[in-house]
Symmetry: C2
Subunit: 425 residues, 2 copies
């Protein structure tokens, strides 16, 4: 395919960006933790100082988004206020305070002949993050990568452009103040869609690509990228009420798992419930869900117990509602629950409510999902709640990292082997 | 693109193979370590029992390879004898004896509110391995995957077809004897090249693809596969003789690193040597290498010290000779050595010979390679030597696993979160 002059310009521009990121990463890789901490703290301070500027830039983004007819949920993700700006800065400070993910020795052993082996954590290299409207993703992603010695190339949605540029200006200021190159954090300088296609092919410059956005973005990245991807697909998560569940606990946990925030990937989408206790426990569960404002859609058995609920159809079991709707499916015990989750789960977060410890252990072991919970709300599926300080996303694949991805998951390792002149026979 | 009937047949055949592997993997994933150990031991016994058969099948493969005009090095990789068959069986027994890589708890912590977190090792799923002529790769790959609860789909070179089929028959016998499904280990049933293209697109069936072969295979896989790849690229490995190196140790280690086996990916390809000690140490090193049968190609400085050596040109620094040839480049200390390795190394194995501990530590830390050695031969770059029992290859990328890949590296993890009715505020 012949490239037009504009294509070539874009290509050259992206390669130059990649070269700059790569060169800066080498310096970052060899920097001390204290220097990276200083950069993070200086970036946090710069964000606080830029509050007025940042509010102004964000107001312009929000005004434009409203003109484009974006809905309230979108505006809510985009909009910044003093609280959110402070939260962003506090997040950077918190990341600074956490232990250094680099240089840590994972494993260590000696051979009988005296050769010594250490497995040591090192950065991945250059991490590209494609995200949509939330400006704070830029701060979190840049900070987690900086902490872990990775350079970043960020590509945000056009709607948050002004806000993201201002945030990154603060982060780059922090880098420079700590004596690190500003090019450790980069933003794709154009909103041209072709730039994303360029990112997909920059295998010499980008070590990992993280798509943070809706399923169409993730699907496009997984289909087209030549660069390795750490993606999260949908979270069709289940809360399974086992026959041994405590009824009151089940109600509280299921309502929270579904309704605390319905738009997050850790929200429960389907409730499974054992046939043995369905007629006894389902009415209370349905009542509690309805009272919390949730539509309930059940299979034939569920509807025969609670005729007031809507009728679910087969396609319900694959729905990620991200809304105040829940599917209810009655199962014959843990085997059928596992089978249903095998078939319809997306490997994100699954939960069992049970007082029978053996059954719970089996569920934890046998469910093939990033996070498996016992007697706790699926809404805890979050890097912050896991204690990782922040997260760059939740990985649902099985390679490299799985579940919430914090700074420590943005590292690789290599081996140090020390001998005293050892030669191999 | 319209598919022909044959293409469709092949496609359906491959999907059926993938479905079978996936179903078998679910059973393997939930099997106990004792059962997987029994399968490995029964497979080892079956290989020993099949010795006569296996020698016959291999003799037919070798005869055909000779007819096709394959060279001696190729025949050597292909040929089996009693020793190699015993070695293969012993390898399976050794893998059986190693600890279970599944169910191990990597990390464990509690929240202040009593929620408990465990990070637990689980299998990856279905692993496809594409390899060339060495039949023992089939046994190692199948055994390492079985140990780690992964199903395998193997695709070997046509030259080793008969031998590989016989080996896998033994492994499948072992699986069945232990009560596990034979479909946990599969071989692509056709030598049709299009079958490899099918593997590249089976993202629903294959979790990881491992190419084990020459650079053209690895390059094709990395260019075309939609399935995630754990590949090793070339090993352009350096042995760097620092000014503080012990001359005798440097000679022994460099000669071993280059000459023990020249065709392995851990062989040294270029020697770097400090200018400060070049005139003093280089003649001895060149003499030792030449005496061992190695051609030496040096830069202008090296040649001015040892006029008898060949003249290297710039392209030498990117050569993976895999032969009795070594490039010699004189550098101005560790900084220039690191720079040269940054530019020409392939991230495989790098070594420093030095008695200065500080310099060695800096080299270990700053070299971006899977394996970095101090005063030890690069020929130790091998899963067996690392104590992993066996290896399925050496990964030179930074994602998922790096360096020798044993059973424990063919796992992922997931989180078990235990609460007592915890809901998220």
């Amino acid at each position: 395919m012949k490239k037009t002059v504009t294509d070539l310009d874009l290509h050259d521009q992206m390669i130059a960006l990649g070269d700059a990121a790569k060169a800066a990463q080498k310096i970052l890789q060899r920097s001390s933790h204290a220097v990276r901490q200083n950069a993070l703290k200086a970036a946090a301070a710069a964000i606080r100082e830029a509050e007025a500027d940042l509010l102004e830039a964000n107001a312009a983004d929000v005004a434009q988004a409203r003109e484009m007819g974006k809905d309230d949920a979108f505006i809510d993700r985009l909009a910044l206020d003093e609280g959110r700006i402070n939260g962003m800065a506090a997040g950077l400070d918190a990341i600074a305070e956490r232990p250094d993910p680099l240089g840590a020795i994972d494993q260590s052993w000696d051979r009988a002949d005296g050769m010594h082996f250490d497995r040591v954590r090192v950065p991945l290299g250059v991490v590209a993050v494609i995200f949509e409207s939330r400006p704070n993703v830029a701060a979190d992603a840049a900070a987690l990568c900086l902490k872990s010695g990775n350079a970043t190339i960020l590509r945000g949605g056009s709607e948050s452009r002004r806000s993201v540029e201002r945030i990154l200006q603060a982060v780059r200021h922090g880098l420079e103040k700590a004596g690190l190159p500003a090019e450790a954090v980069n933003i794709v300088p154009t909103q041209d869609r072709a730039a994303v296609g360029e990112l997909f092919r920059m295998t010499e410059h980008i070590d990992l690509l993280i798509p943070r956005g809706g399923r169409s973005l993730v699907a496009r990245v997984q289909e087209e990228s030549r660069v390795p991807v750490l993606g999260h697909l949908m979270g069709v998560n289940h809360s399974y009420v086992h026959a041994s569940a405590d009824p009151k606990m089940a109600q509280e946990v299921v309502v929270n798992a579904k309704m605390r925030r319905t738009g997050v990937c850790g929200a429960t989408e389907t409730m499974l419930i054992d046939r043995a206790i369905a007629s006894e426990m389902l009415p209370g569960l349905v009542h509690a869900l309805s009272a919390a404002g949730c539509r309930v859609r059940g299979d034939a058995t569920a509807k025969s117990i609670c005729p007031e609920i809507e009728a679910a159809d087969e396609s319900d079991w694959d729905q990620e509602w991200l809304d105040a709707v829940i599917g209810v499916h009655v199962v014959d015990g843990v085997d059928e629950a596992l089978q249903h989750i095998d078939q319809h789960g997306t490997g994100h977060t699954e939960c069992i409510l049970a007082s029978d410890q053996e059954v719970a252990d089996r569920f934890l072991r046998d469910v093939d999902a990033a996070i498996v919970m016992h007697n706790a709300s699926t809404q805890f599926a979050d890097g912050g709640e896991f204690g990782f300080g922040a997260e760059i996303g939740i990985a649902t694949g099985r390679l490299h990292a799985r579940g919430p991805v914090g700074a420590e998951h943005l590292t690789s390792y290599h081996y140090h082997v020390r001998g005293t002149g050892h030669i191999r026979p």
